[in-house]
């Protein structure tokens, strides 16, 4: 009940602000560009080859970058704005549990992510209408994109709870996520053993399986852990007002 009230407020504040529409427009434009160019590439060079491996996989992998750039813009305001405005004082003196507050913000952002991803469903529908293809593996791909997005949101919420400056929150989130991505890129800079560990830690590498159309329990567990870890940190930050200044 309380959770629903906060969720409704969060969703409303997304849809009245121009930020959501700008982010959605940029997200869909960039995705559309990737869709168009990847499809042209496939039609030109990959004719007769598997459309899953040579087109959809490429597109899903490209969409990671678009999500990396747009999700931090959706999470940056969630706590930072409340702190800047001072409305956090109102929320925290209402009978709302920290957990409910966190979950409502997380769910609202996840719902916005779902809307953005739903917008890209137009591509498979369009391609299917031209030429039917085995679409079932795409479900895994979209699940992977959504899980990847949830881990971005968890990270972004945590950073947002640390600062009252939205730009700082957004930039720091992009920085952390980008670092997670490029961590395993350069084989020359790391030893093979270390690279092995880094690949296991990198969320982008855990996404590859989903893009190929497989759902691996290990990858699922990884994203679950990533989201819980950052949620745990965020809840500790919210709680910290209770032990700061204590002796």
């Amino acid at each position: 009940m309380t959770f629903l009230a906060v969720l409704r407020k969060e969703l409303a504040s997304y849809f009245v602000s121009p930020l959501f529409y700008v982010v959605a427009a940029v997200f869909l434009c960039l995705s559309g560009y990737y869709f168009y160019t990847d499809l042209i590439f496939f039609v030109t060079f990959g004719f007769g080859m598997s459309i899953l491996e040579n087109f959809w996989q490429l597109l899903l992998v490209d969409l990671r970058l678009v999500m990396l750039l747009s999700i931090p813009l959706l999470t940056m305001r969630l706590f930072a704005e409340e702190k800047k405005l001072g409305t956090i004082e109102l929320l925290l003196t209402y009978p709302i549990r920290d957990g409910e507050l966190f979950l409502a913000k997380f769910t609202a952002c996840a719902a916005v992510l779902a809307i953005l991803l739903a917008g890209t469903l137009l591509y498979p529908i369009y391609v299917y209408s031209l030429q039917p293809f085995p679409w079932v593996p795409l479900i895994a791909g979209y699940l992977g994109l959504f899980l990847l997005g949830l881990s971005f949101i968890a990270c972004g919420l945590f950073v947002s709870s640390l600062t009252e400056n939205q730009v700082v929150a957004g930039m720091a989130t992009i920085g952390i996520l980008l670092l997670c991505w490029i961590l395993s890129w350069n084989e020359a800079a790391t030893s093979p053993e270390l690279l092995h560990v880094l690949v296991r830690l990198s969320m982008f590498d855990h996404f590859q399986g989903f893009a190929r159309g497989t759902i691996d329990a290990q990858d699922l567990a990884y994203f679950l852990f990533f989201v819980s870890f950052f949620s745990f940190l965020t809840l500790r930050v919210l709680e910290s007002r209770k032990w700061r200044g204590r002796r």
Binding site: M1, T2, A5, L90, T93, Y94, P95, K242, G245
Partner: protein, 321 residues
């Protein structure tokens, strides 16, 4: 209803509140009076469960502010100091959100929202965005959300700041109307406000309680002495001597920014209730000097603080000797 025992709050090494204790009975309206930065807001934030005290305890409606904060927060209404509400929300949507967050049922929600809209005079702005409202209206929206669930305890941090005189009168009478039904703790740095709305006053300065009294006793304390400003065209020492000789005048001091040309400015101290202005005027005119101005000086809050703090320090010194 509110019990504060030896409450202290430190922010790092800075002490915001030091060993404050007081209680508020059910249905009482009590004022927390002090200059800016004296610790009023800190005390209120502890009471609302926003953060815990460093030492000591605070209980509201029987619930510990630090340990049972959720149960406590259900029973209080809080108007924070700088009422900043969601600028992108419309007034009605905001009140709907507040009611839903407080788990009010649909019928009660409708009824209470209508009631606070009426009580706080919000009917004209109900569908406006909060961000476009004037400071006065925003303050009233803040008050409306605090009153929405008819809380047992109402905590108002500077409720009349930023309002125009007519609105101040309305809000004060609204608060007075709660007397006996709701326990109210309000903070202010305006002295007359306290005497108009509160039954009892706790005065704090630099994080410590310097006085706790009823509004009447406090007013009496302030008015225990009258001061009269006298501006005269005449020789300073003679004027002073003549004024000192006026019956009822206890002491004469020469005001700071004295004399432009031949005028001198003195302040005559007299006991309260003794009419000295007429006698002063007669004495001055009798000597043939030009009487420019005779005017009673009100004792300001600053004077009161200076006096209370000095009394306190004298008491501490006496203890130590």
């Amino acid at each position: 209803m509110i019990e504060i025992e030896h409450l202290s709050k430190y922010f790092g090494a800075t002490c915001a509140v030091q060993d404050v204790s007081f209680t508020v009975k059910r249905g009482e309206v009590i004022g927390l009076l002090g200059p800016n930065g004296s610790g009023k807001t800190t005390i209120m934030r502890v009471l609302t469960g926003f953060f815990p005290p460093t030492a000591g305890r605070a209980r509201v409606a029987g619930y510990d502010a630090a340990e049972q904060s959720l149960a406590l927060r259900r029973r209080i209404g809080y108007l924070p100091e700088n009422v900043v509400l969601y600028p992108d929300m419309r007034v009605r949507a905001f009140l709907e959100f507040c009611a839903a967050a407080r788990r009010m049922g649909a019928d009660r929600r409708r009824e209470r929202i209508a009631a606070v809209i009426h009580d706080c005079g919000l009917s004209e702005v109900i569908s406006r965005l909060i961000g476009t409202l004037s400071k006065g209206y925003r303050q009233r929206v803040g008050l409306a959300q605090a009153l929405l669930h008819e809380p047992e305890v109402l905590i108002l941090d500077e409720p009349t700041v930023g309002l125009d005189p007519r609105q101040i009168i309305e809000i004060r009478s609204l608060i007075r109307g709660l007397r006996g039904r709701t326990t109210v703790l309000l903070s202010t740095h305006i002295l007359p406000e306290v005497s108009m709305t509160c039954e009892r006053v706790v005065i704090i300065d630099r994080g410590r309680i310097v006085a706790e009294d009823t509004a009447e006793a406090l007013t009496r304390r302030v008015e225990g002495e009258n001061r009269t400003l006298v501006r005269v065209e005449g020789p300073l020492e003679d004027v002073r001597a003549v004024l000192s000789a006026v019956p009822g005048v206890e002491r004469v001091e020469v005001a700071d920014g004295v004399a432009s040309g031949r005028t001198v400015e003195c302040i005559a101290h007299s006991r309260s209730g003794e009419p000295v202005r007429k006698a002063i005027a007669a004495a001055v005119v009798g000597r043939g000097w030009g009487l420019i101005e005779v005017r009673p000086l009100a004792l300001s809050l600053e004077d009161l603080f200076v006096r209370l703090v000095t009394e306190e320090e004298a008491a501490i010194d006496a203890d130590h000797v």
